[in-house]
């Protein structure tokens, strides 16, 4: 059965009457269903009672539209096809469109498997029944993953939904040569960080590179100060709105941040993260708190080899235990849950073999499965991987852990306002949060 027969057939069935139930219907010999002629045409040789059907193809929706990740996913699907003879049809959608239209996509005719993120962004759709649980896949690949990964892949009902592909840590990146020249040392406490910033400023550098024209990069600073000040669990409860925004713990985060604000690039609101990365590459600034994807901006090998990384210093509790390391991976749509080939594909993604195929093309991220090839890692990537492996808890970044409406519509303007004049109205944040979370 080819993909061309499969799709229109599904399209003409009534909702709630998918191919799997029809197959069952056929199995018990119930005749008279409107879809039977179509069904006969499309099932071909597969015998009755085959659940999930033994198909030899699947569709794969990918939001990884940039050149490198796109080629990397192609390498994965090629490796999968070579191994299993299962044909994968990939539909690549520009990543902003893919994210913005995810609701419509999942309710319409989604692909069997698709790229997505861990965290609230996954759990929300799992809770709405738009995804297929994949406990059987995890029974096969579960041993490849750490507990933190397993926790991040679990839906609100306790079933498994997500297969992690790679992740990347957030932390301070800097140019080793600049630090060596000026004799800076890596700060491990917040006070040491402030002292270092003051020193950098007197040396004529912008101490902390910063960009927030797009709004989301500042969430990284907020998350880290929040987790270092109030702990990982508070971050999770706040983003899930189990904790109120209108409380001292939250205003403390902003008060603490205020001490760093004079050291962050004052032009942040007009810059994208790429602009800021270029500044650091040109040795205009001392360090830059961003995800490790910052290295994608340095095509010059000498600069790339000169980049190092350290974790956000400790402030009040849990030391440096929590790491912000968003995980990207694959999900199965509800429809894709009936396709055994799609399940096999997700299982393949969860093996070192599948992840190596990806990482070979896109080495800027860190494979999540144990046993994935680390021999080609650069020292920086190795350090990033160790930081994640040693983390006691992994957060997913504010806009993945919180309700998207809260992150996009409320937090972005609030953080931009804070960067502008150092004030934030936590009471207003709480009343907005109340209205938005109530609508879900």
């Amino acid at each position: 059965m080819s993909i061309h027969e499969d799709r229109p057939a599904n399209g003409t069935f009534r909702p709630g009457l998918d191919r799997r139930t029809l197959l069952k219907t056929l199995g018990v010999g119930a005749v008279g269903v409107a879809g039977i002629p179509l069904l006969a045409a499309c099932t071909g040789g597969s015998g009755p009672g085959a659940t999930p059907s033994a198909s030899t193809s699947l569709t794969f929706g990918s939001g990884s539209s940039d050149d490198v990740p796109k080629a990397a996913y192609k390498a994965v699907t090629d490796a999968f096809t070579a191994k299993t003879k299962i044909k994968v049809t990939t539909n690549v959608v520009p990543h902003n469109d893919f994210q913005n239209k995810i609701s419509t996509y999942l309710q319409g005719s989604p692909d069997d498997a698709f790229t997505w993120f861990a965290g609230y962004r996954m759990q929300y759709y799992a809770g709405k029944g738009l995804l297929a649980p994949i406990d059987d896949v995890w029974a096969k690949v579960g041993a490849n993953y750490s507990d933190a990964m397993k926790k991040a892949s679990t839906g609100p009902d306790g079933k498994m939904y997500f297969v992690p592909n790679y992740n990347y840590p957030w932390g301070f990146f800097y140019r080793k040569s600049v630090w060596a020249e000026k004799g800076y040392a890596v700060p491990t406490t917040f006070d040491a960080l402030k002292t270092l910033c003051a020193k950098m400023k007197s040396d004529g550098l912008i101490p902390i590179e910063f960009a927030d024209k797009d709004g989301w990069p500042a969430m990284g600073t907020f998350d880290y100060i929040n987790m270092r000040l109030n702990g990982y669990q508070f971050h999770m409860d706040l983003t899930a709105h189990k904790e109120s925004w209108d409380q001292k713990k939250v205003s403390d985060v902003f008060d603490t941040w205020k001490a760093l604000l004079p050291y962050q690039n004052p032009a942040a609101l007009g810059m994208t993260w790429q602009d800021a990365a270029i500044n650091m590459g040109r040795k205009k600034s001392g360090m830059y708190l961003l995800g490790s994807f910052v290295t994608q901006q340095y095509t010059d090998k000498t600069i790339l080899d000169d980049i190092d990384f350290f974790a956000f210093p400790e402030i009040a509790m849990e030391g440096q235990d929590a790491v912000e390391a968003p995980i990207d991976g694959l999900l199965l749509s509800k429809k894709g849950g009936n396709n055994q080939a799609a399940r096999d594909f997700l299982a393949f993604m969860g093996t070192p073999e599948g992840q190596d195929a990806y990482a070979k093309v896109d080495p800027s991220n860190i494979a999540t499965a144990k046993g994935a090839d680390t021999s080609t890692f650069s020292p920086l990537t190795k350090k990033c991987a160790e930081t994640i492996a040693n983390a006691k808890s992994i957060s997913q970044f504010f806009d993945r852990d919180a309700l998207p409406a809260m992150a996009n519509n409320v937090m972005i303007p609030a953080l931009q306002g804070f960067i502008k004049d150092g004030t934030v109205d936590v009471k207003n944040l709480e009343s907005q949060a109340k209205a938005l979370y109530a609508a879900q």
Binding site: Q99, N100, I102, S103, Q107, R121, K128, L130, K213, D214, G215, A267, A268, L269, G270, M271, D275, P404, A405, M406, A407, N408, N409, I412, P413, A414, Q416, G417, K420, D425, N428, S431, Q432, A435, L436, A438, A439, Q440
Partner: protein, 324 residues
């Protein structure tokens, strides 16, 4: 004046009664005026546009109004829950972007009305003279109207970028701390956006006025100059008033453009940090991952109510005009 249907009636109300009475004896004549086939054709010609209008305008509008009183995540229809006026109270009291957005829309209207539209008129008058290469200039000024959103974004990025942009380079401040942050400084970026909007709006207005100027009878101008009027007097006393129908269209377009102002701020920073606009708020809350349909609909309804004011004035004026 009461209903538009009267418009097609050529005779005055007084003669209308007599006309009907006189028509009675010639009954077959009346029937022949609208045959069965005519009626079917008319029915289709009126019916299809009406259906299209209903499907794409009235039903969505009505649904938006209804949705603005609900909470909905945009997934299953069974998730819709009544919310009363909660969305409106969120918009008016909780949302910090709403009142700045209203101010920015008003500023947008004033700027377009005072700067952009007169600029378009000026361009049209200049290009209406018999100058060499007039067509080329017209095309150049009209090009911005045809460009896509993404392209507009890239073009203005090249101008306004802080360290590498043309503008700061010309000012000699690029790369220095004195460089103006055209996009990031929340008291500057609205003006930067307005200049970009003017660049598009003036071209649009120019084309409309060029058409209008071509339509002004040349003998009027001739008569004016014979009477001793100078160029300025001729334009403001004779030509401009003669273009009254175009002027009304321009007024309406200016108002509508300022209400639906959206593209320029969206490509800059999606309408945050000093660039809040009502239409950008509608999009923020209705489309994308941060979808919150009830609140987005409330924003849309507010924008609709504001838009109804100029539209009503315009329509009532047009109908009154045509009647006499």
């Amino acid at each position: 004046m009461t209903t538009p249907t009267e418009l097609s009636e050529p005779a005055a109300p007084g003669s209308r009664a007599g006309h009907t009475a006189a028509a009675r004896p010639r009954k077959p004549g009346r029937v022949r005026r609208l045959s069965k086939r005519d009626k079917v054709v008319l029915g289709i010609m009126v019916g299809i546009p009406t259906l299209v209008q209903l499907a794409f305008v009235w039903i969505p509008t009505l649904l938006s109004v209804l949705l603005s009183f609900t909470r909905w995540n945009g997934l299953a229809l069974s998730d819709i829950r009544a919310a009363g006026l909660a969305n409106y109270s969120y918009v008016f009291t909780d949302n910090p972007a709403f009142w700045p957005a209203v101010q920015h829309n008003i500023l947008w209207l004033l700027f377009l009305a005072v700067i952009a539209t007169p600029l378009g008129l000026l361009l049209a008058v200049l290009l209406d003279q018999q100058i060499r290469g007039s067509k080329i200039y017209q095309s150049i000024f009209f090009v911005p109207v045809m460009l896509s959103l993404a392209l507009v974004g890239i073009i203005w990025q090249l101008f306004y970028q802080k360290d590498n942009g043309l503008l700061n380079f010309l000012l000699g401040t690029a790369g220095t701390p004195q460089a103006v942050d055209w996009f990031g400084n929340s008291s500057v970026n609205i003006w930067a956006a307005l200049v970009a909007a003017t660049w598009r709006h003036a071209g649009y207005v120019m084309i409309l006025y060029l058409a209008g100027l071509k339509g002004v009878d040349a003998s009027l101008k001739e008569a004016a100059s014979l009477d001793g009027a100078n160029a300025t007097q001729t334009f403001f006393r004779i030509v401009f008033p003669a273009m009254a129908p175009i002027n009304i269209v321009i007024v309406v377009i200016t108002i509508i453009e300022s209400l639906r102002a959206f593209d320029v701020v969206w490509v800059i920073n999606k309408g945050t940090n000093g660039l809040e606009l009502i239409s950008a708020l509608v999009i923020t809350y209705l489309i994308g991952e941060g979808q919150s349909i009830g609140i987005g609909s409330a924003f849309a309804v507010i924008l609709l109510v504001i838009s109804l004011v100029p539209i009503t004035i315009y329509l009532s004026r047009t109908f009154r005009k045509e009647k006499f």
